[in-house]
């Protein structure tokens, strides 16, 4: 039983502190079998990865963003949006109904596809998407505390387009090929300005650790370096294939690009890939530019307050990005490449200079 006590010791030394439910926790810790599970759940790294701001919040966010995007777009377009799934709450669980529908649909694997890659790649694509969750802190609640968190997150985000190109290649179809080539081009367009903007913020704060970034934000990072703010927003739109840069997945031109041959539950998985990448980039955006988890402390929630502030700010950022979808048309590939390599590269170099200058002052 030495291992159990050893693990129990580790869990109780680093537990999250929420005064609101403290009486219930104290009571449950008294019971011999249950106290191990409760200590595991409330152990800070586990809480950060599995519940918030990790997988639990990710699931709720996916259910909510699909509904919110459709409702907001419908409101701009003079109509109502999804309404029928559960009429008393005006269709709030529409995404859940869609997900259940995908489970029951047949996932067809066509004859010319490379079968093992076709089926396994949507699942393997989740690895570079979910690993950065370990490094994102929310107050004291964090998975792995590291001084190089920003660099690691950016490096993992750079792996995702490779999996999308591989998905298109494995489909072995005419339109998937064109979609993969376009995804490769878009990857070149946004990656360099994006990395330079993040490097300029690292110079500004003086370190790659996210705790230092939030401590130094007396004034929000958006005002300290507004040029990097603009470049990051445009890079977010390009990286997650949202309008006006929805080029690899152009629905009308190449019939959904690399994902054209997917159906059933595999289709559900590849659709959520772009949304999860948006979540990670939006979390990084909030911490670098909007003050992260800093906000007025709520005494009864204790350690949960920074988590709530972080999630709330991220949700507001994503909601503002959703409305861009209903305003703009889709750019052409060479116009997006020209934008990335001329305007955005110039702006990101300007932001690098501003970052070095302000960082030397701070």
């Amino acid at each position: 039983m030495g291992i159990v006590e050893y693990l129990y010791g580790i869990f109780t030394s680093n537990m999250i502190n929420i005064p609101l439910i403290k009486p219930i926790v104290d009571y449950l810790m008294g019971i011999p079998g249950v106290n191990f599970i409760v200590a595991l759940i409330l152990w800070r790294p586990f809480f950060a990865i599995a519940i918030a701001p990790g997988l639990g919040v990710l699931m709720l966010y996916l259910l909510w963003i699909v509904y919110f995007e459709r409702k907001l777009t419908a409101r701009v377009q003079w109509r109502v949006g999804p309404l029928e799934v559960c009429r008393p709450i005006r269709g709030l669980i529409q995404a859940l109904a869609d997900g259940i529908r995908y489970f029951f649909q047949e996932a067809i694997v066509h004859r010319e596809a490379h079968r093992p890659y076709f089926i396994q790649l949507p699942i393997l694509a989740f690895i570079p998407v979910l690993i950065p969750i370990m490094f994102i802190p929310a107050g004291e609640v964090v998975g792995i505390k590291s001084d190089y968190a920003i660099q690691l997150i950016v490096a993992f985000l750079a792996l995702i387009p490779i999996t999308i190109i591989a998905i298109g290649w494995a489909s072995n179809s005419r339109f998937a090929y064109i979609g993969s080539v376009r995804e490769a081009f878009m990857y070149f367009a946004y990656e360099v300005p994006f990395v330079i903007a993040v490097i300029s913020m690292i110079f500004l704060y003086g370190s790659g650790s996210l705790y230092v970034a939030v401590e130094k934000q007396v004034v929000p990072g958006a005002i300290l370096n507004p040029v990097a703010f603009i470049v990051y927003i445009i890079a977010m739109l390009m990286a997650t294939s949202r309008l006006p840069f929805e080029i690899p997945e152009a629905d009308q031109e190449i019939a959904f690009g690399p994902f054209v041959e997917y159906s059933g539950i595999l289709f559900g998985l590849v659709m959520t890939l772009a949304y999860e990448k948006l979540y990670i980039m939006a979390l990084l955006f909030t911490i670098l530019f909007l003050g992260g988890w800093s906000g007025p402390a709520i005494p009864i929630l204790g350690d949960l307050a920074p988590v709530i502030w972080l999630v709330l700010k991220t949700v507001v950022v994503i909601s503002i990005l959703v409305i861009v979808r209903s305003i703009y048309a889709r750019y052409r590939l060479d116009q997006a490449l020209r934008l990335g390599w001329s305007s955005m590269l110039g702006l990101s170099l300007v932001s690098l200079i501003i970052g070095v200058a302000v960082g030397w002052v701070l």
């Binding site: 907001l72 409101r75 701009v76 109509r79 409305i323 305003i327």
Partner: protein, 238 residues
């Protein structure tokens, strides 16, 4: 009128961006919705609306005009005590040429436009089924009307049910009776005698001419269409 080539400068482009974004934001906050939540709300159509056709048996004179003019061949005549029309709604295109052709106003329109049938055979409605408005399940509680005034388009919702029947006065058509315009060209084939449903024509063998009984003739015109020499016509009775 010449349209000039558009070359927007940088300031104009930024202004256009801001215009587009503010338009969308204003619509998101206060939308100009025009959705009608059918079937809980129903639109009120004007009285001239072309819906399902309602047949009045007492006015019909079995003249076959509706069946012969239908562009889609959707009307078939069925025999009960006289010939009456039955409508096949798999073919009907709601052009209402039949309603416009009927000389006594036996066919009229209604405001029903959304009947659901369970099989294709059910869509062929017999005469007994078109004498009243087809029964539909009415789930609506609210009637919506478009109000367009001074450049504004608004939807006005009232909590009442819309009446689906339409009252329309019968057409004013002068009564006509059949008469022979060239009795000397008559062949004596007696096709007109055979086809008249009122048996109003008799053939006189001595004079080799037909005799039309004006009191029995209703002016249906079947004999006019049947005569191979085309010497019968419908004349207005004074």
């Amino acid at each position: 009128m010449m349209i000039k080539k558009v070359e927007p400068s940088l300031t104009e482009r930024i202004k256009d961006h801001i215009d587009a974004i503010t338009t969308a934001v204003i619509q998101a906050i206060k939308p100009d919705r025009i959705t009608i939540e059918y079937p809980r709300e129903r639109r009120r159509y004007p009285e001239v609306f072309r819906g399902f056709i309602v047949f009045d048996k007492n006015r019909c004179i079995s003249c076959f005009r509706c069946a012969q003019i239908c562009p889609a061949n959707a009307i078939k005549m069925e025999f009960y005590d006289k010939y009456y029309p039955s409508i096949d709604y798999t073919k009907c295109i709601f052009c209402h040429f039949c309603v416009d052709s009927c000389p006594t106003g036996a066919l009229k329109t209604s405001k029903v436009h959304d009947v659901a049938f369970k099989s294709l055979e059910e869509m062929h409605l017999h005469t007994t089924q078109i004498t009243k408005v087809p029964d539909i399940v009415r789930e609506d509680k609210v009637t919506v009307e478009y109000e367009i005034k001074g450049g504004e388009w608004k939807l006005v919702r009232k909590k009442e049910l819309d009446r689906l029947e339409v009252e329309v006065p019968p057409p004013v058509v002068k009564p006509k009776k059949a008469s022979c315009k060239e009795p000397e060209s008559c062949l004596g084939c007696r096709l007109c005698v055979a086809i008249c449903p009122q048996e109003a024509i008799k053939f006189d063998r001595e004079k080799s001419m037909i005799k039309i009984d004006i009191d029995k003739c209703v002016g249906c015109g079947l004999c006019v269409r049947q005569c191979p020499m085309q010497i019968l016509e419908l004349k207005v009775v004074e």
